[in-house]
């Protein structure tokens, strides 16, 4: 065995420092596996030719986070009663420090969130990314979109101004025209015969607890499926990851697969093509 020089003082100090820094992470990892999970999330492989269009999903997530943060701040100042709601909105808009910014971001963040969800959906459609094995994730995405629209509907009433009130009167009446279920839906949304204090608190509760809770859970499931199934590469991709169909000419078989390997890849990686 070769002689090993004992570590110098500087090396020892460095080792101790590293242990000190790593200790909390190791502690957490040993008890939860979270560090490994985050590492897996960050360093998982995505196709080499991912496209800028594929940032629309995370952009929509960002818009949702903006909604969540500004919503929490608004809830600190907003009072969901017919007598106070309008005044508290005026107060937030005109008097609270940067209140106009928080409310404006929430108001317009909603539109941006909806637009980004539609754009993201369009991208997934154009890429054919809803196809096997990602069908379930498409359904989860559509559910998030529906819940997002419901957030728009319930949030619209909260300022309790004329726009809010009359749009909601009509909106609830339109729901009420549904066959069989309509009257029950309308009754449930109104929380009574007329739109009033109970409607406002009901919409407030739906808007800031039930629906966002559902959206957060579904976003979690959505992301889990993205990580598990991987990111789709663009349909025009030249790599096997994105190749929709193999070339027509007969190709050498790749081990374990029933489809021939595309020509370009078989040539680039001879070990992948043909049987060994």
């Amino acid at each position: 065995m070769a002689y090993r020089r004992p570590p110098t003082k500087a090396q020892l100090r460095r080792q101790r420092m590293e242990a000190l820094v790593n200790y909390p992470l190791d502690w957490l990892e040993e008890r939860s596996g979270l560090v490994g999970g985050v590492r897996y999330f960050l360093f998982r492989k995505v196709p080499g030719d991912v496209n800028w269009m594929q940032t629309l999903g995370s952009a929509a997530l960002t818009a949702f986070i903006v909604q969540a943060v500004t919503g929490v701040i608004l809830a600190m100042y907003y009072k969901p009663t017919p007598n106070e709601a309008y005044r508290s909105i005026q107060n937030i808009t005109d008097h609270v420090t940067l209140g106009w910014l928080v409310r404006g971001m929430h108001r317009w963040g909603a539109s941006v969130f909806i637009i980004l969800m539609f754009l993201h959906m369009g991208r997934v459609f154009l890429f054919g990314a809803y196809k096997y094995p990602r069908e379930l994730n498409w359904i989860v995405g559509v559910l998030i979109l529906v819940l997002g629209m419901m957030e728009g509907f319930t949030g619209y009433l909260l300022p309790w101004d004329q726009t809010a009130y009359w749009a909601t009167v009509v909106g609830i009446n339109l729901n009420g025209t549904a066959p069989f279920l309509g009257p029950f839906i309308a009754q449930f949304l109104r929380a009574g015969q007329e739109i009033g204090a109970d409607t406002l608190t009901r919409f407030y509760s739906l808007h800031m607890m039930l629906i966002p809770g559902g959206i957060i859970a579904l976003i979690g499931l959505h992301l889990y499926l993205v990580v598990r199934l991987g990111v789709t590469s663009p349909p025009w991709s030249k790599e096997a990851a994105g190749m929709a169909l193999a070339d027509e000419e007969p190709q050498p078989l790749r081990p374990g697969l029933t489809r021939p390997v595309p020509r370009g890849i078989a040539a680039a990686r001879p070990e992948a093509g043909g049987s060994k």
């Binding site: 594929q54 539109s111 990851a241």
Partner: protein, 285 residues
């Protein structure tokens, strides 16, 4: 690596087998030739997120600074609309109902169907069918093909969907609104054209100011945003004053499925005036 099972001669792999094989190939290819999410894809995501937050802050700022009026409040009509309108008042019905812009396409659908018999097709029928189709998309389109040029049906369907939603949103956004201040000027013309009796005039003025024309039209005045019926000759149906009052108080109680709001808050006296006016409206004389 395990020995390669040879393809069975003559047996075509099923669609699911092909899809599984393709996915396995995808997984392997990404593993071998892909790049790590951090930092590559995450860089793009971060840039995009910063753009999103900047756009939201920008919209908030434009909203604030263009709607802050001379009365030091946010009711001024700015580039992006007022920050708030007058406080909600169930008593004044003269307000034009308008949803947020991303509901315009639903809102405009209402005009396509007749009230009240088939209005539910516009309110819930068509949207529900579209939603079911949206959910079912991955099970309708089961081909593995992803290249656009090889998916003509999907491309045409997408183009038609985008086009119709854009048109409906645009139509909803530009739909004519009826302002009470303009409608009231037409009341003398109504009296002349329909030869309304003197006792119907207060009702006519009420009709012009109480918000009826936000949804109904009368001799071409008013807005048909929501597709509600034209009331120019509602009196020819001889529904009776009592029916009209009951209907105004609670439309859905009398005509099941009617989305019209209740106007009970106007009070017995004014409801009677409105009913007299409606019954006297026999069309152009």
């Amino acid at each position: 690596m395990a020995a390669a099972p040879q393809r069975h001669a003559g047996v075509k792999p099923s669609r699911l087998e092909e899809a599984r094989a393709q996915f396995a190939r995808y997984k392997e290819d990404v593993k071998e030739r892909g790049k790590p999410f951090y930092p590559y894809a995450m860089f793009h995501d971060t840039v995009m997120s910063l753009v999103v937050v900047s756009v939201i802050v920008g919209l908030a700022a434009i909203w604030k600074w263009t709607s802050y009026g001379p009365h030091h409040d946010g009711t001024h009509q700015g580039l992006l609309g007022p920050e708030y309108t007058a406080p909600a008042d169930p008593g004044t019905t003269s307000f034009v109902p308008r949803p947020d812009w991303y509901f315009y396409f639903l809102f405009y659908l209402l005009r396509i169907f007749k009230w009240p018999e088939s209005v539910f097709l516009g309110t819930v029928g068509v949207p529900t069918i579209c939603l079911i189709l949206l959910f079912a998309l991955p099970f309708i389109d089961v081909r593995r093909e992803r290249r656009l040029l090889h998916r003509p049906v999907a491309v045409v369907a997408a183009a038609l969907t985008i086009l119709s939603m854009a048109v409906l949103t645009w139509k909803g956004a530009t739909a004519k609104e009826a302002l009470a201040s303009e409608v009231i000027a037409d009341v003398p013309n109504w009296v002349k054209a329909e030869k309304l009796p003197q006792n119907a005039v207060p009702g006519a003025r009420l009709f012009a100011t109480a918000g009826c024309t936000a949804c109904h039209t009368y001799l071409g005045t008013g807005s048909s945003n929501l597709g509600a019926p034209d009331l120019t000759q509602i009196g020819t149906r001889n529904l009776g004053i009592d029916f009209q009052i009951r209907h105004l108080k609670c439309p859905s109680c009398v005509v099941p499925g009617s989305p019209m709001p209740k106007f009970e808050s106007l009070g017995e006296e004014r409801l009677r005036q409105l009913a007299i006016f409606l019954e006297a409206s026999k069309g152009k004389q």
